[in-house]
């Protein structure tokens, strides 16, 4: 099956390249992992691009031109990605939907940047790609890695008016990563955390760290990690009758947390992804994939679908494929996509997607802010 898929992709690559020599087309480059271990991350995006392009072509294309897809396989490897980028540039791609992995994206971005090609990734979450400001041509339809931490910090400072904050994490990549971003954002806003500590997941109890939080007189705890430890800490805090806010991440925004922590879960805040898979456009996009390819779409499908729509609509609104005009169109317009209504900020990060803050109220997570 994998072989078949692979050869299908190869055939389509050859077909597309052949077609791309025809004059008067708009060329959408779609580089990503289409083979190898990470193919399951890249193929859904390629499918999404094809479906969007076919739909647009069926309505007569954009600016009177047909759109063609140039698929290129980078296997998520940075060195391959750089070659793929050079190839897309020489094939005169007008806009690029890719790459898939952060490392590959970073390796390829300079090439596109030098040739002034707008590049939009559906899946690269590395913070530096947008925040460094090195790549003015880069956009993405996925939240960067620090998005949750940023939301937690803004929520704590603006909505909860917290002044003293303790940051606890579980020493894992995920939890510690979020905790460190949160620490950075707090410090940027002039709040120095009174505690920044890792705990051992699965320990017999957490009474010592709870006492430490209590003693630190923090108004809020930001916890980076998963629900089992969060439940123990929250229960310990409530048993000590502490009124400290507890803010965590999408490792805790899980119904299991409420089930396990039971009555102690009440009032806990946690960030979690905004669920858009039920929106009519998303349902339609998923339906299209099932009809054409016979399977459920995989990872980043909706992000890529939204990305392709944004890119091509931006070209249409700009009236040309000129770099400056297209990137301005991406930043100034709002686009209807399966991810909701989105636009892009100065850095190229999407506005309107990503995470929301939820709070446990009466045993359910309720959205309380974005």
């Amino acid at each position: 099956m994998k072989r078949l898929l692979y050869s299908l992709v190869m055939v389509s690559v050859i077909l597309c390249t052949a077609e791309s020599f025809a004059a008067d087309t708009i060329k959408l480059g779609v580089p990503g992992a289409h083979s190898g271990d990470l193919a399951s991350y890249g193929l859904p995006s390629a499918n999404a691009a094809q479906l969007v392009v076919d739909a647009i072509n069926a309505k007569g294309g954009i600016l009177g031109k047909k759109v063609v897809v140039l698929k290129e396989d980078d296997q998520c490897k940075p060195e391959v990605a750089a070659n793929v980028a050079a190839k897309l540039v020489s094939d005169k791609a007008d806009v690029v939907l890719g790459h898939i992995c952060s490392g590959a994206t970073k390796a390829a971005l300079n090439t596109y940047n030098e040739s002034k090609i707008v590049t939009l990734s559906p899946s690269a979450t590395n913070v530096e790609l947008t925040k460094s400001g090195d790549y003015p041509n880069f956009f993405r339809t996925i939240s960067p890695d620090d998005a949750q931490a940023l939301l937690q910090v803004n929520f704590a400072l603006d909505k909860l008016k917290v002044r003293r904050v303790a940051i606890i994490h579980d020493k894992g990549d995920y939890g510690k990563g979020i905790a460190e971003f949160a620490k950075g954002f707090f410090e940027k806003r002039g709040v120095k955390p009174v505690l920044f500590e890792g705990i051992t997941p699965g320990a017999v109890d957490y009474s010592a760290i709870v006492q430490k939080i209590k003693f630190s007189k923090a108004d809020a705890v930001v916890y980076g990690g998963y629900h089992p430890e969060a439940a123990k800490i929250v229960a310990g805090m409530k048993k000590k009758k502490m009124k400290t806010h507890f803010i965590s991440d999408d490792g805790v925004r899980d119904d299991t947390f409420i089930k396990v922590a039971d009555k102690f879960a009440e009032g806990v805040y946690a960030t979690g992804p905004i669920d858009t898979t039920k929106s009519p456009m998303a349902v339609a996009a998923i339906e299209q994939h099932k009809k054409r390819y016979g399977t459920e779409p995989g990872a980043f499908y909706l992000n890529a679908y939204a990305g392709a729509l944004c890119l091509l609509q931006a070209v249409e609104k700009a009236g040309s494929t000129d770099f400056a005009k297209v990137s301005k169109a991406l930043r100034t317009n709002w686009f209807e996509t399966p991810l909701g209504k989105i636009s892009f900020d100065r850095n190229g990060d999407a506005k309107g997607i990503g995470f929301a803050m939820y709070q446990v109220r009466n045993g359910k997570y309720v959205e309380v802010g974005r």
Binding site: I168, K171, E197, G198, I199, T200, G202, A203, V204, D205, S207, A208, I209, Q211, K212, K214, F215, H227, P228, A231, K232, A235, K239, K240, T256, K259, V260, A261, D262, F264
Partner: protein, 299 residues
């Protein structure tokens, strides 16, 4: 000062749980020189049994102390049965084998029991009801909670009873005899099989008590809790001197306090570093543990 006391009692509570489990390790080691790696799993099974029993009894309308007591007793009986059976199945046939064989058998038993609970129950974390009620006279006490108080007192009482049992009863004397010299005790008419079974039953019962109490305090369990608690309790047993009953209790408390104070005054990042660093430090100066003797008298 209040902070110090809170950490002190927090460490004491945690140490008590370690001690209850460590007693099982140390008794078994004292009698048959086996490190019973499945002991942590007995603790976990005790907690699961109590959860199931408590849910069923609560449905029948029971609550408060009677609920805790009855589900605790059910957990103790069930865990003791497990301890007894494990010895008969996994260790007794290997009693004459070389020393490594029962050890591997113990590790196998531990993995088996973990997976058995994983498949028969669930891989999810389960909420454990707070079976220990809040005392009304503890309302204004902040340095220690009711559940912690119950855990500490229960451990003290259990240790006292165990010590008296070993000192003054027939079975206790037989245990000491078997610990000193199995063959000689057998020649003098001690039923060694019964003594070993009794050791496993008592150790398992104590582990179940620990499992029920700490789960009720923490509020959640899953199939994996026995592993970490088992490692810590084993450390406590070695720290105090494996084979020695007061040593297991002392080792548990020292370990609990070390962890609590290390977290409180230094950083929780290094909780385990301090706990195991202390172990290494003590073993350098006292290779047999704090109260361990290099002699053959172990129980």
């Amino acid at each position: 000062m209040e902070y110090f006391l809170e950490l002190f009692f927090g460490g004491l509570t945690r140490g008590s749980i370690y001690a209850l489990i460590a007693l099982g390790y140390t008794m078994v080691y004292g009698i048959i020189e086996l490190i019973n790696f499945a002991h942590g799993e007995i603790y976990m099974i005790g907690a699961f049994t109590a959860l199931i029993a408590a849910s069923a009894l609560a449905m029948l309308g029971m609550d408060g102390w009677s609920l805790l007591a009855l589900s605790g007793v059910i957990a103790i009986i069930y865990s003791a049965a497990y301890g007894f059976t494990i010895e008969k199945i996994a260790y007794k046939p290997l009693r004459k084998a070389q020393r490594l064989s029962p050890l591997i058998s113990a590790i196998g038993m531990s993995i088996f029991l973990q997976n058995y609970v994983l498949l028969a129950q669930t891989s999810d974390f389960l909420s454990f009801p707070a079976l220990i009620d809040e005392f009304s006279f503890m309302e204004n006490v902040t340095i220690i909670g009711s559940a912690e108080l119950v855990i500490i007192i229960t451990t003290a009482v259990a240790t006292a009873i165990l010590t008296l049992f070993i000192k003054f009863t027939r079975m206790g004397r037989a245990m000491r005899a078997v610990a000193q010299d199995k063959t000689m005790a057998m020649l003098l008419g001690v039923n060694v099989n019964r003594v070993i079974s009794a050791t496993f039953i008592i150790g398992s019962a104590l582990a179940a008590v620990g499992g029920v109490l700490i789960s009720s305090q923490i509020g959640q369990i899953n199939f994996y809790i026995g592993f970490i608690a088992g490692i810590k309790a084993f450390t406590a047993a070695v720290l105090g001197g494996i084979g020695s009953i007061p040593g297991a209790v002392l080792g548990g408390l020292v370990l609990g306090w070390t962890e609590s104070f290390a977290t409180g005054y230094i950083s929780s990042d290094y909780e385990d570093v301090f706990a195991f660093g202390l172990l290494v430090f003590i073993l350098i100066f006292r290779p047999a543990g704090i109260l361990g003797k290099a002699s053959s008298e172990k129980v």
